[in-house]
C-alpha cells in the first residue's frame, strides 16, 4: 500500500499525464510504470474514468431570452471611452515633475551645506544646525504645497466619511 504522500504524488503525476502537461521524460516514466505496475495501471484507469466523466459536463445555460435582454439593455447605453483616453498624461507629468523638482531642490540645498574639505572626525559631515529652516518654510511655494496637501487630506477624509455614512445608512 502507498502512504498518503506517495498516493498524492502518484495521483499528481498521473493527472499531469492525463492532462497532457507532463514533460517527455515524465510521460515516458509514467507510461513505463503503468505498463509494469498493476497498482499504477488501476490508479490510472480510475483517474481516467473521472477525467472522462468530467469532460462530459456542459456549461449551464441561462433562459432563451438572455441575449435579447442584454441587447435591449445595451441599446440604451454607449461604450465608455477607454480610461487611458481621459486620463491626461500632461497632468500626470506635471505632478511628477513638481515632486521631482521639489526633491532635487531639497537635495541641492542639503549638499550645498556640506563642507567637503572638512578633516576633523569629531564633527559631522553635514552641520544640521547651520540649516536655515525658516528660510525654507517661509518660502511661498512650500507653503502652497503644504496647503494643497492639507486640502487633499480633507477631501480624502470627506470621501472616507461619506462612504462610511452610506454603508451605515439603513435602506428605506
Amino acid at each position: 500500500m502507498w502512504s498518503m504522500n506517495q498516493q498524492e504524488n502518484i495521483e499528481q503525476q498521473l493527472w499531469s499525464y492525463i492532462d497532457g502537461i507532463s514533460s517527455n521524460e515524465e510521460k515516458m516514466a509514467v507510461e513505463r510504470l503503468i505498463a509494469t505496475s498493476v497498482e499504477w495501471k488501476n490508479k490510472y484507469h480510475e483517474l481516467l474514468d473521472v477525467h472522462k466523466l468530467m469532460s462530459t459536463v456542459e456549461l449551464e445555460q441561462p433562459s432563451m431570452r438572455f441575449t435579447k435582454n442584454v441587447m435591449e439593455e445595451i441599446a440604451k447605453l454607449h461604450i465608455a471611452p477607454a480610461a487611458k483616453n481621459y486620463i491626461n498624461k500632461k497632468i500626470i507629468w506635471s505632478i511628477a515633475s513638481f515632486f521631482i523638482l521639489l526633491i532635487v531642490g531639497f537635495l541641492i540645498y542639503g549638499f550645498a551645506q556640506v563642507d567637503w574639505n572638512f578633516q576633523d572626525d569629531s564633527k559631522p559631515l553635514i552641520d544640521f544646525s547651520s540649516f536655515n529652516y525658516g528660510k525654507i518654510f517661509n518660502n511661498n511655494l512650500v507653503n502652497l504645497f503644504m496647503m494643497v496637501n492639507v486640502l487633499l487630506g480633507l477631501v480624502l477624509l470627506d470621501r472616507i466619511l461619506a462612504n462610511k455614512r452610506k454603508r451605515f445608512q439603513k435602506p428605506i
Binding site: 499528481q12 474514468d49 456542459e58 449551464e60 441587447m71 447605453l77 461604450i79
Partner: protein, 193 residues
C-alpha cells in the same frame, strides 16, 4: 448564432459602432458567464440577473479591453467583481477556501439532493451536482478547466496564482470531487467504473 469570427474581430466591430455584433459575444459566452455566476450565487434567477449585468458592464467598458489576455480572462474578472458586489449588496456570505461552514452547508445540501437522486441519474447531472457540493474555490477551478476549457496557464492568470499552484489546486479539487461522487453517488459510480 455564432458567426465564426474571432473575439477580437467582433470587439473591433462593436467598437466601430456595430452594436448588433455584441450579440455574437453574448451568445458565445453566456454559458461561461452564467455557469461561473451560478457557482457563487446559487439562485438561478439572481444568477441570470447578475450574468446580464456582467454583459452590460462588459459592453460599457469594452474600449478598455486591450487584447493582452484572452477575452474570457477579462470577462472572468468582470464576472467575479460583479458577483462579489451583488453578494455584498445582498449581505450574503462570500465563502472562502478553508471555511468549515462551506462544507457543512454543502453536506446539509447533500441530504436534499439524495432525495432526488433516483430521478436524476444522468452522468452529467451527477457531476454537476457533485460540483455544487464542493467548496466554491474547488468548484471554480474545475468549472474553469472542464466547462470553460481554460488552460492551466490561463487559469493561473485568471486566479492570479502560479501555474504550479493552479496545477496542485486542480489536482486536489478533482480528488475531492471524486470523493464526493463516490460518497453520494455510489450506485451511479459503480455503473460507470
Amino acid at each position: 448564432m455564432s458567426t465564426g469570427l474571432g473575439d477580437n474581430e467582433i470587439i473591433s466591430r462593436v467598437l466601430r459602432g456595430e452594436q448588433g455584433a455584441y450579440a455574437d459575444l453574448v451568445n458565445r459566452y453566456q454559458g461561461y458567464v452564467f455557469t461561473l455566476v451560478l457557482r457563487m450565487i446559487k439562485s438561478r434567477e439572481d444568477a441570470e440577473e447578475v450574468a446580464q449585468d456582467v454583459f452590460v458592464k462588459t459592453y460599457r467598458s469594452l474600449a478598455n479591453f486591450r487584447g493582452e489576455s484572452k477575452f474570457s480572462t477579462w470577462l472572468y474578472t468582470i464576472t467575479n467583481t460583479t458577483c462579489i458586489t451583488f453578494l455584498r449588496k445582498k449581505k450574503l456570505e462570500v465563502h472562502s477556501l478553508d471555511n468549515e461552514k462551506v462544507f457543512e452547508v454543502a453536506d446539509s445540501r447533500d441530504s436534499g439532493f439524495r432525495a432526488n437522486m433516483i430521478e436524476q441519474k444522468s452522468r452529467v447531472s451527477m457531476v454537476n451536482r457533485a460540483i455544487t457540493m464542493l467548496n466554491p474555490d474547488d468548484a471554480e477551478i474545475i468549472t474553469l478547466f472542464y466547462k470553460a476549457e481554460q488552460s492551466l496557464d490561463e487559469i493561473a492568470r485568471i486566479l492570479k496564482i502560479e501555474v504550479n499552484t493552479a496545477k496542485v489546486r486542480l489536482h486536489r479539487a478533482r480528488g475531492r470531487l471524486k470523493e464526493k461522487m463516490e460518497r453520494h453517488f455510489t450506485e451511479e459510480i459503480k455503473n460507470i467504473y
